[in-house]
């Protein structure tokens, strides 16, 4: 089975975000694999182990993203592809990313593609479904369970807290929701092996894409931090009186109950 996983390098969730010169400052920041993509990698490895085949992880980014790809290889993925757009593109949006990934995948034999349901940085959750549509394959988002039997697929997906059971078939793209599995940590032998696993580096030229083909449809014109919240009021006195005061404040000052 040919399994592909779309991954993104993102800021560690512990990071505070700062803005300098109108851009998110990356100085000294720690980077991780987008947490939802880790579920996708773990699931891909489990599906491969149960069905044979190969797991290829793909990312778009600069040289720095190699580290996250090596981590995925250390978890157990077989191959990695880094599509380096750093020299070619200043601006990207979801249209751009999806087009590039679909261009890479279009002549591959694809059985299953996995991705996170959303990246915790941009937060739009578009790239997975867009890629599926460009490839003309079906997709199911926010999945919490995946069962594959031959080419038939049974999925449980999370829909705003409800769960839906879905029957469909390969080829398919799915996006991972929390709860799908418990991503493994790379083992030491895994890390050693990952250094020797194939990591292919491509640029737009290699995909026969011109910059114009993937020009972003939207443009970010400003990035800013939310206003700092003024310190709130810690109520004092007997707990019973604090509660009376709180309910009164919520009703008469904040007017939210």
């Amino acid at each position: 089975m040919n399994i592909y996983v779309l991954v993104k390098r993102t800021f560690d969730t512990e990071e505070k975000i700062t803005v300098s010169n109108g851009k998110i400052s990356e100085d000294g920041a720690e980077f991780i694999i987008n947490p939802y993509d880790e579920y996708a990698i773990e699931e891909a490895i489990q599906v491969r182990d149960a069905n044979d085949g190969e797991v290829t992880v793909i990312t778009i980014g600069g040289e720095d993203a190699e580290k996250q790809l090596r981590t995925a290889l250390a978890m157990g993925a077989d191959k990695a592809v880094l599509i380096d757009t750093e020299d070619d593109l200043d601006e990207m949006d979801e249209f751009t990313s999806a087009k590039i990934i679909a261009e890479y995948l279009k002549d591959k034999e694809v059985d299953l593609i996995l991705a996170g349901n959303v990246a915790i940085d941009g937060g739009s959750g578009q790239v997975g479904p867009r890629v599926a549509e460009l490839l003309g394959i079906n997709y199911v988002t926010t999945i919490t369970n995946l069962e594959i039997n031959g080419t038939s697929v049974k999925i449980i997906r999370d829909v705003e807290g409800d769960s839906e059971t879905i029957e469909t078939s390969l080829p398919l793209l799915v996006t991972a929701q929390q709860g799908l599995n418990e991503p493994r940590y790379p083992s030491l032998p895994g890390i050693m092996k990952a250094k020797k696993k194939p990591l292919e580096k491509l640029e737009l030229d290699d995909l026969d894409l011109e910059e114009d083909d993937v020009e972003a449809k939207t443009q970010t014109i400003e990035i800013y931090l939310p206003p700092q919240k003024a310190a709130g009021r810690i109520l004092e006195g007997e707990v019973a009186n604090q509660v009376i005061e709180l309910v009164n404040l919520l009703k008469n000052e904040a007017k939210v109950i």
Partner: protein, 324 residues
């Protein structure tokens, strides 16, 4: 230039969701005086069309088909694209709901358009409109504009105020026949787990529990308070990891991002990942035994105390003012 804008309405349990009315308000703003056309897809949605007009749509197109009873991207994209081809709008607005998130990228990809997801505010009108959306789960915001071609946005529930309901407004309602075929997915079962029918991302009040809730049973008083206030319950990752509740309740950088009018954090310490998911709530109340807890830094009102003492008292007190 004025724009013709198509808005997808979304029903839940037989009624239109609030986010649909908020989407109409957004559509009005970007239309710059152009026409706002509501779209309803389902097996029986005709009766909901009037309500879209009362909230500001100029007219409504409905597509009814048995295959549209439950949402699938195949069926809904076929129906929506038929409406698109008929109307040829210059802009599209969806709610940023489970359905909107799933369907919008497919439509945007079919139309080779941009898609500005999860919009929380719109500055300017018509062609000059600029869209504000959270990034890093609300740790920062970006202003985005559409370069050219079709404008397509999804709006986050609870952020853009709907227009005033006007029962006197009238407009045309037309049914469009679409043959929905070739479905690749079958939904064999739906299990409703959501509490009391109030969706977490749309709730006006969220009562969230953390590790301090100590057990699954510990969520009971929180649920009672949420129900009393017509809200939903949520949780921190700590509470989910400890198996006190389902992951679908998790609020934070992984999990849901919520912006209710009132957020009550009970027994939540306030890890940076949790705060990203809730700090843009309008009013935040924190209840925690530890006066040094981070959550107090973003709280408008704080009570240092035991949630199992404070929450039942709050329930009693709110019941009192509700009966007066």
């Amino acid at each position: 230039m004025s724009k013709k804008v198509v808005v997808l309405g979304e029903a839940r349990e037989g009624a239109l969701r609030n986010v649909s009315f908020e989407a109409i308000a957004a559509a009005k703003k970007i239309s710059g005086g152009g026409e706002v056309v509501g779209v309803l897809l389902g097996d029986a949605v005709q009766s909901l069309a009037e309500e879209m007009i009362h909230y500001g749509a100029d007219r409504v197109v409905t597509v009814e088909h048995p295959h549209l009873k439950l949402y699938t991207s195949d069926a809904f994209s076929q129906a929506f694209m038929a409406v698109y081809e008929q109307e040829k709008p210059e802009a599209i607005v969806f709610g940023h709901t489970a359905l909107g998130k799933d369907l919008s990228p497919k439509i945007a990809s079919k139309l080779a358009s941009g898609l500005i997801s999860d919009v929380t505010a719109i500055e300017g009108e018509g062609d000059a409109a600029v869209f504000i959306r959270p990034i890093f789960s609300g740790k920062a915001f970006e202003k985005v504009k559409n370069k050219d071609g079709l404008l397509f946005i999804t709006v986050r529930p609870n952020n853009i105020a709907p227009l005033e309901h006007d029962a006197g407004r009238t407009g045309g309602v037309a049914a469009l026949a679409v043959d929905v075929t070739n479905l690749r997915t079958i939904i064999s079962e739906v299990i409703r787990k959501s509490t009391e029918g109030v969706d977490l991302s749309e709730a006006k009040v969220v009562v969230a529990g953390g590790r301090g809730v100590k057990s699954a049973e510990g969520f009971e008083p929180l649920q009672e308070l949420a129900t009393l206030l017509g809200g939903a319950i949520g949780a921190s990752r700590g509470a989910c990891d400890a198996d006190y509740c389902d992951y679908s309740l998790q609020i934070g950088q992984t999990g849901k991002v919520v912006t209710p009018d009132l957020y009550i954090a009970a027994g939540i310490s306030g890890a940076i990942q949790h705060m990203a998911g809730m700090s843009n709530s309008k009013v935040i109340v924190a209840i925690n035994k530890d006066s040094e807890a981070n959550i107090f830094k973003v709280a408008d009102y704080g009570i240092v105390g035991d949630l199992f003492e404070v929450i039942p008292m709050m329930i009693e007190e709110i019941k009192k003012i509700k009966t007066n």
